[in-house]
């Protein structure tokens, strides 16, 4: 297996495990959207390999872990990755803070889409804390970025970014 693919698959598996890891009740509402963060990184790093199709399948997996309707998270994730994919060259040269702000904005839209579908289904959460994962994801982004970049540089051959 291509080392890039290997490290990519491993980090995405780690992201799913973090997404399902039991947390204390108070912390559950603050859990960052790990899968989306990792996918955003890989889309920026390897836009030729990772794109909307991978995002769609990753979203379907998220739907299964969340017990949500199939397609609920997939829809949001495709939109987020589409924007990241289209703008990856600009995002690469932006500062970490600017990247984090873009991610905050995109994740809020993703969560709003998921909320919209939950609302149609009749079980929308009624607390503003619902949008907390977007905020914590943006806060965690610099660390995710640096850790994944170092991992990729250490284990992969191609280092154009």
């Amino acid at each position: 297996m291509n080392p890039n693919t290997r490290i990519g698959v491993l980090t995405i598996i780690a992201a799913y495990m973090l997404a399902m890891m039991p947390l204390p009740d108070w912390a559950q509402a603050f859990r960052p959207d790990w899968v989306t963060l990792v996918l955003i990184y890989w889309t920026m790093a390897l836009p030729d390999n990772i794109g909307v199709t991978v995002a769609w399948f990753a979203g379907l997996m998220l739907d299964v872990t969340h017990g949500a309707l199939l397609g609920q998270h997939a829809l949001g994730l495709v939109l987020v990755i589409y924007v990241i994919h289209a703008q990856h060259q600009r995002l690469r040269v932006a500062s970490l803070l600017q990247q984090a702000l873009v991610i905050l904005f995109l994740l809020l839209i993703k969560q709003a889409l998921v909320l919209w579908v939950s609302g149609i289904m009749g079980h929308a959460p009624d607390s503003w804390l619902y949008f907390m994962p977007s905020v914590t994801s943006a806060i965690f982004w610099p660390w995710v970025y640096i850790i994944l970049r170092d991992l990729r540089r250490k284990f992969a051959y191609k280092t154009h970014f």
Partner: protein, 284 residues
Amino acid sequence: MQTLFLQGPSVTLRAIILIIASIGLMTLDHRWGQMENVRNTLSYVLYPLQYTIDLPIRMYHWTDETISTHQTLLDENRKLEDLNLQNKVRLQKLDILERENFRLRELLHATPKTGEEILIAEIINVDVDPYRQLIVINKGSNDNVYISQPIIDAHGVMGQTVHVNTSSSTAMLITDASHAMPVQIDRTGLRAVAFGTGKIDQLDLRHIPHNADIREGDTLITSGLGGRFPANYPVAVVTHIERSPDEAFVTVRAEPLALLDRSREVLLVWHNQPQIIPKTNDEP
């Protein structure tokens, strides 16, 4: 590989196709529930991950049991033996009552009561969604688990399965905001519907008229209407009643009896099984 020319449909076209596919999938999943196969396939990939996450907790329980002292085990054993004896005595009475009930039903030519079968399942400790009350258990279609099968624990009804995979299932607890179940008040037989609220310790009874005989402390049991839950299992205790004259109905809140957030083992129930005719060994 960096390709100079894009291959296949453009990214925008692909994104649009995938978005339409997502909406289509959601509709199919919601309206017709046809997507269990897809879910099952994806869960083959997820189950090892869920199992791995649960492993440290499993290990903790295992080590806890292994390194506990001889004295603790002896004490526990003695306590359980006492409990077992008490339960056996109670069960003897119950057996006699059940046989009597069966004979009386035969005399009345009433339809025989259906039997029940149970299976113990373990909860896999993974977080599902903080805003929904869902749990994952380690039994699936391999063990003949079916969709909307009731789940109980030692204290009361916990919920029902919503997605069944090969070796795991997702179950919705009775407190989930989209769950409702038919119940009956043990004392008076008044029927009601218990709605989940999204809070782990609260159920709402809606549409109870002002003149209904309902008190705090009343036990709610399953009524068996709707056919999903077997009748006469305890569900909840009424904790709060508010009769306000400007409301059309009474506000009734109840607290589930099952330990929804603490149980580690749950029981899957198969009801509507053909009745096993009780053996009568005291017949002439």
